[in-house]
């Protein structure tokens, strides 16, 4: 970011500075956040998302404490295998996204885009599996208002699925504007989506 104050069109240009000098100064503006890889704003988002989903998971644990039998009976209607499959899909997708960044750092935009497309393809597989899961529950008459478990299940997994959709859009954008920083930042968003699912899966699907 250029920290120079805005001047009118008639202001005298500062000839002691040139564009190169201004560009070289820009990375120092983030303070402690500069120590993080990629765009620091993405890390602020990652912290925020961890806080939001952390609150969701804490709320889920608290609600289970009040109604353990209801939560166990409801959880048994989930497909633990589908949930596990989707975890494998996302961690593999994360691997592909990291390989995209690696290839871009090596200078190969083409290979980076191929890995990014593969990561996005697996993201769509994740959404397809989730759609099958939701479809099965809706067919069985299980909805958002069935009980506390299902309300929290739909809210948490639905909000996460929305992040997957957003992640696919982000991956498409950074695949188009494929600078190393863009790829690193887009992949960071994708890994955040991966990380959050890794936390959701055992809490919602496995622990009882």
């Amino acid at each position: 970011m250029n920290a120079e104050p805005h001047h009118t069109a008639y202001a005298e240009p500062d000839l002691s500075r040139d564009a190169t000098t201004a560009d070289e100064e820009s990375p120092a503006d983030w303070g402690a956040l500069s120590a993080l890889p990629g765009n620091p704003l993405m890390w602020i988002l990652i912290l925020s998302e961890l806080a939001v989903f952390g609150a969701f998971l804490a709320g889920f644990a608290g609600a289970r404490l009040m109604q353990p039998e209801l939560f166990a009976d409801s959880q048994a209607q989930l497909s633990r295998l589908f949930g596990g499959l989707n975890t494998l899909v996302l961690v593999t997708s994360g691997w592909f996204a990291a390989l995209a960044v690696r290839n871009r750092a090596e200078g190969s935009i083409g290979r980076a885009r191929v890995w990014l497309a593969a990561a996005g393809g697996l993201g769509m597989v994740f959404l397809a599996v989730k759609a099958v899961e939701y479809g099965g529950k809706i067919d069985a008459g299980i909805g958002l208002e069935t009980n506390t478990f299902w309300t929290l299940y739909y809210l948490m997994t639905g909000f996460h699925a929305l992040h997957v959709v957003m992640g696919l859009i982000v991956l498409a954008i950074v695949g188009w504007k494929a600078s190393l920083e863009n790829l690193e930042t887009g992949a960071a968003f994708w890994h955040m989506v991966d990380l959050i699912w890794v936390l959701i899966y055992p809490v919602v699907y496995l622990i009882r």
Partner: protein, 101 residues
């Protein structure tokens, strides 16, 4: 801004993926020891603790390698690690309190 030297190598990424996949399967196996994928039987506290410990290791790997946090400062690594542990600690605490409250 990072460069090639700060990026995780291909073997490191492959190893991380294998670890994440293996720990996921380990979590599933721990939760499904009775062989019934639709079981409602409560897990033992040790099983729950093990599943959450495996999850903590997975989260740490994603942060350190996929998100490349290993190249950052110890302070940032501790902050994110503590955040994940706090979330999983609340979940474990909630589980251990079932039947007590």
């Amino acid at each position: 801004m990072s460069d090639l030297n700060t990026q995780p190598t291909r073997p490191a990424l492959a190893l991380t993926w294998a670890l994440l996949a293996g720990l996921t399967l380990g979590s599933m196996a721990t939760a499904l020891t009775d062989g019934d994928a639709a079981s409602t039987a409560a897990l033992a506290g040790t099983q729950v603790a093990l599943i959450l410990a495996l999850t903590a290791v997975k989260a740490r790997q994603i942060l350190a390698v996929y998100l490349n946090l290993r190249t950052s400062t110890a302070g940032w690594r501790m902050l994110f690690g503590a955040f994940v542990l706090a979330i999983l600690g609340v979940v474990l605490g909630g589980h251990l309190l079932v039947g007590v409250v």
